[in-house]
Symmetry: C3
């Protein structure tokens, strides 16, 4: 059993912008030399999210954003904004639901993803940021 952890850095624009991080995670996995186990991907920051999606622009640029606008619109007034002088209450709510925690198994050194299933890092925040995600590989 072996374990290794890497931090990956991103520059992001926010506003529910999505980044396909499957290649980066496969690279960490390949470097680890492990064959069977789990990769844990963690979004560092309470306005981020990690999940899977078919990474195509209809979903990532339009549909997901329209869905979130229904129940956590960016333009709404939030108690969070009033208290802290922030404008990113919507970003916190979206992150709360999607979650920042993600684990996926691999076998024969390959993640068990579907053909049209990519791992995405989502930045829900309202301004460009320098982001970090943690990728931890554990296995044999």
């Amino acid at each position: 059993m072996k374990i290794s952890t890497q931090i990956i850095h991103f520059k992001t624009d926010g506003h529910t912008q999505m980044h396909d991080i499957t290649a980066e995670i496969n690279e960490v996995l390949e470097k680890s030399g492990l064959s069977e186990g789990q990769v844990c991907v963690f979004g560092i920051g309470s306005t981020t999210g990690i999940t899977t999606v078919e990474f195509e622009p209809g979903l990532t640029k339009t549909d997901v954003r329209e869905m979130f606008e229904k129940f956590a619109p960016y333009a709404k007034h939030y108690a969070h904004n009033a208290t802290w002088g922030d404008d990113n209450g919507a970003a916190h709510l979206r992150s709360f639901l999607v979650g920042t925690s993600f684990n996926a198994p691999f076998v024969d050194g390959r993640l068990l993803l579907g053909t049209w299933q990519q791992i995405v890092f989502v930045d829900f925040d309202t301004r460009p940021r320098n982001r970090k995600i943690a990728v931890q590989v554990m296995g044999v």
Copy 2:
């Protein structure tokens, strides 16, 4: 520390149909012979979901479906559908929120679930499919 991975196959009808997979996961766990550790359950495919629920028909057949119809209705026009000639934009949005990644701990060879808490595989897609989920057990 030991690790083992199994693929479980399902025939599904879709449209947010739920499958109680707790027994299947307990079977994998029992066969592993492990006492303490984690089971990782992963939905292979970007229109699937893994979560927990009290598996009773009021929730699984009515309430969950009605909730999703509010913010990701099947009948809506989605950019995903327009681009790809698909009709399953709603399925992708629901999977995006619920997530395909699930980990739960076990002790003394038993999952630490609540009495009325079952692990469910959800197929959000819009047609019958042959599905696979990955179940990975890691522990001692």
Copy 3:
């Protein structure tokens, strides 16, 4: 590679009440003496949730609750309530979305959380309860 599991007990009020459990998890981590690995936090019960949030009252007492009231209001009539004489259909729906499963990596004995990112246990149920969450640490 080592593994240890602890059960943490809470008295809760419910109605989407949030508990910052970061300190409790750090305590389990510290006692384990492990340096690098993952903590798995699991909400025992199908009306609970585990996720991360910036733990400040604007979000935890107002914004998150207002968001959930849009698509899973407590006062609505649910099939779950009709079938079982319960009144907590909304609690089940909220838990279904947020999820009870959470994993986060640690390095040098410290969780890789953001500065304003806390791990929260949410009780969505409609009455005071005695709750348990499982915290499992795995690593080297």
